[in-house]
Structures are given as C-alpha cells and as structure tokens.
Amino acid sequence: MAYQETAEGHHEHHHVNYWLIFIALCICTAISVVFDVVQLDRRLIAVLVLAVAVAKAQFVMRYFMHLKFEGAWKYVLLLPTAILACGLPLALAPDIGLHYYRTDVPQYRTAMREGIIPNEGGAPLEPEAGHADDHNHAGGDEGSHQE
C-alpha cells in the first residue's frame, strides 16, 4: 500500500564474511562426524552432537538469514515457536516415550527375549510352537503371526 513506505532501506549492506561462516559450519559438521567415531558415553555424545547442531543453526539463522540485523520482531516470532517446538516432544514424552501402563506388543516380547528390556510382565519368552491362532490374544504369541 502507498503508505507502507517502510519497505525501503533493507538493502543496506552488512559486512559479514560469509566464507568464514561457511568454514565454521563445515568444521561443525566434521566435529559431529568425529563424535560418531570416538567412544564416549552415548548420552554425552547425543548432547554434544545436538549442541553442535544448535550452534550450526545459530550460524545459519544469525548470519545467513540475517537475523542478527533484524529488529525485535524476531524474538516475538521465534521465541513462541521455539517454545512450542520444544514443548511438543516434552509433552509427548510421558505417554509415547515412556509408558505408564504395561505395554504388550510383539516387539516388546522380542525385546524381552533378546534381553533389551527386563521381562517385567512375566510373559513367556519362547514363541509357542504350533498353531495357537485361536488364542484371542493381542500379543498372545508370535507363532500365529505367520498364518
């Protein structure tokens, strides 16, 4: 609209050495690949790798996307988004990531059989032989899945 005169003046030049930023990003990438090779506690590595990712995101957003030079609106837009983006997985975690109620699905039984999780439900671990298909049982036995 005519009185939206404010649009001008955004072409002014900010002196950023984009090449340096690019190098920094490459180094970050290399670091995360190195993390993959060294043997550290995996939780620690996960944190480190994600920290590197955040650092990379910082570089891209601040310099490539020019957020460093934008007004305060960037906070108004990005803070709520960031909060929601972190909040959603957090809110999903208690139900999907952890399980309050006992889960009984074929995958859990396999996992118990292989010792990945303790066999808490006391379910039999060996697949039952033969045809057990008339067990009206959700995770009842693996054998019937082949029918």
């Binding site: 399980h99 109620y101 006992r102 889960t103 009984d104 699905v105 439900g121 006391g122 379910a123 039999p124 008339d134 067990h135 009206n136 049982h137 959700a138 995770g139 009842g140």
Partner: protein, 288 residues
C-alpha cells in the same frame, strides 16, 4: 418489543434452572438402574458425584449471577435507549472505559474458585488412576483380564485350584484359565481390579452406575479398579467409537457375594473342563 426481548432473555435461564430442578424427579438424572435413586453404586463414584454436585453449585451460582446481571443491564439499557443522547443525568449513557478494580476483582475471585476446584479434586483422580494410590485390596493382582474387540468383551479368569480358590491371573493365557464372553462377575465384598486391553481398535470400558470409565488402548494393558456396593446386575457398555457396532457392545456386569461368585466360577470351570480335551477347552469356548 424491548420489554419482550428483555423478558425473553430472562425467561430462558429460569426455564433452564427449573428443568434441572425437576430433572431428578423425572428420571432425567443419574441412571437409577441398580440403586433406584441414581446415587452412585461405588464409594469412588459417590465422591465423583459429590464433586459433580459441588461444581454444579458453583456453576449454578455463576450462571444465575451472570444471567441476573445480563437481565439487569438489558432492562436498564432498554429504558435508557428511549432517552436521546446526552439526556438527563439519570438516563445518560455511562461513558467509561472500564475499571481497574473491577477487572482485578473479577479475575481474582474466579481464579481462586477455579484453583480450589482444581486442587480439591486431585485426590479422587489419583485414587482412581495413579497406581500407587490404588486401594490395598487391588494391589494383590487382577481378578480377570477383559479384552475388548469389535464388538464384544472377552473375559479371561484364572482357573480354580483343587480347593476351589482362584489361582493367580498370569499375563499370558494358561491352560487353566476360564473364559466368558460379555459376562463379568466380580465380588461385591471388596474393591477389585481388572486388566483392560483391546484386541483391535480403541474401546472404552464404561460402568455408568459405578461411574467407571477407561479406554481400552491397543497395545496397552491398563489396570482398572472398582468396587460395587450392592450385589446386583449393572449396565456395562462401550463408550469409545469402535466401528459400526459401537452402540451394541454391551455386557452383563454382575457383582455378587463371594460365595456366589465362587459357585459361579466353579460351574464355569466344570463346564469348560468337562468336554474331554483338557488343554484346549478354554480356547474353543471363545473361538470365533
């Protein structure tokens, strides 16, 4: 006409209040089923009802209050609207942009009320759902496993030992297990727990008279406990849309004294163990 509309807006809340007032007498209230009065048939249900009535009183007061306020501003506003703009002081429009004190007041008071409701109810909720708050009686284990499927309930009980006492219910089917379809018998002597699971889609285990409801989620085994205070038949239905037959997914829920329950289970056991193929009977009883 203005008076008519004012009356109209006052009339309907009055009707609403009257309707709610007469509803219990007209049997438009909690299901009378087993109790005859509509009272909840379980201790926990009674507490839920108490909570319901408490909220009913709070909301009724709010409702009546706001509707009176609305009626008042309508009547006075109607009178004033006859007066021209800039009339005598008494008839003048109240030129105001609001009041800070009022805003604070009507934020703080509802906040307090709401916070009170929120905190007050937590205990009931915890008792019903949080495993650590379950009553001691049900911690010993479930008395049956109820599996929902389109469109029926399948129940697996542990079998009886030589003395006629129920065995422990194992997570997986045992040869000794007893099966029924759409018929759940429990004791009315103490709280009992079931394992609830679903074999296909989501269902919901609903005992209206006991005020019990819990969804059966595929993949999860959810413990549900309840206590029926009277030995009788109760309604039992499915409350989560599970397909075209959702509405007809009902079962017979019987609470009975311990002895009757034993007797019934013994009968069930005899019936199921009696046809000569010991290891297979449980299954064939409930085959498709």
């Amino acid at each position: 006409m203005k008076r008519f509309w004012c009356t109209f807006f006052v009339f309907w809340p009055i009707m609403a209040v009257i309707l709610c007032w007469v509803a219990p007498a007209q049997n438009w209230w909690f299901p009378r089923g087993a109790s005859g009065t509509g009272a909840a048939m379980s201790p926990l249900g009674e507490r839920i009802d108490d909570l319901f009535y408490m909220i009913l009183i709070i909301t009724a007061v709010t409702f009546v209050g706001t509707q009176i306020g609305l009626g008042y501003v309508l009547f006075t506003g109607a009178r004033r609207s006859d007066a021209p703009h800039g009339a005598e002081d008494a008839e003048k429009t109240w030129f105001t942009h609001g009041s800070h004190n009022l805003e604070v007041m009507w934020s703080v008071v509802p906040a307090a009320v709401l916070l009170f409701i929120a905190l007050y109810q937590m205990e009931v909720w915890a008792e019903f759902r949080v495993k650590d708050s379950f009553p001691d009686e049900v911690r010993t284990g479930p008395i049956a496993e109820v599996t929902a499927r389109q469109f029926e309930w399948r129940i697996r009980y542990p079998g009886l030992d030589a003395n006629g006492n129920p065995l422990e219910l194992m997570p997986d089917p045992q040869p000794t297990d007893l099966y029924t379809v759409n018929e759940l018998h429990v004791t009315s002597a103490e709280p009992v727990m079931i394992w609830l699971r679903s074999e296909d889609v989501q269902h919901s285990f609903f005992l209206p008279e006991l005020r019990v409801k819990q969804d059966a989620v595929p993949g999860l085994v959810i413990p549900v406990w309840f206590e029926a205070t009277k030995s009788t038949d109760y309604s039992w239905l499915c409350a989560e849309l599970c397909g075209w037959g959702h509405y007809k997914m009902k079962g017979r829920f019987v609470a009975e004294p311990e002895e009757d329950l034993r007797e019934w289970m013994q009968e069930l056991q005899n019936e199921q163990m009696d046809d000569g193929v010991p290891d297979d009977v449980g299954d064939s009883q409930v085959a498709d």
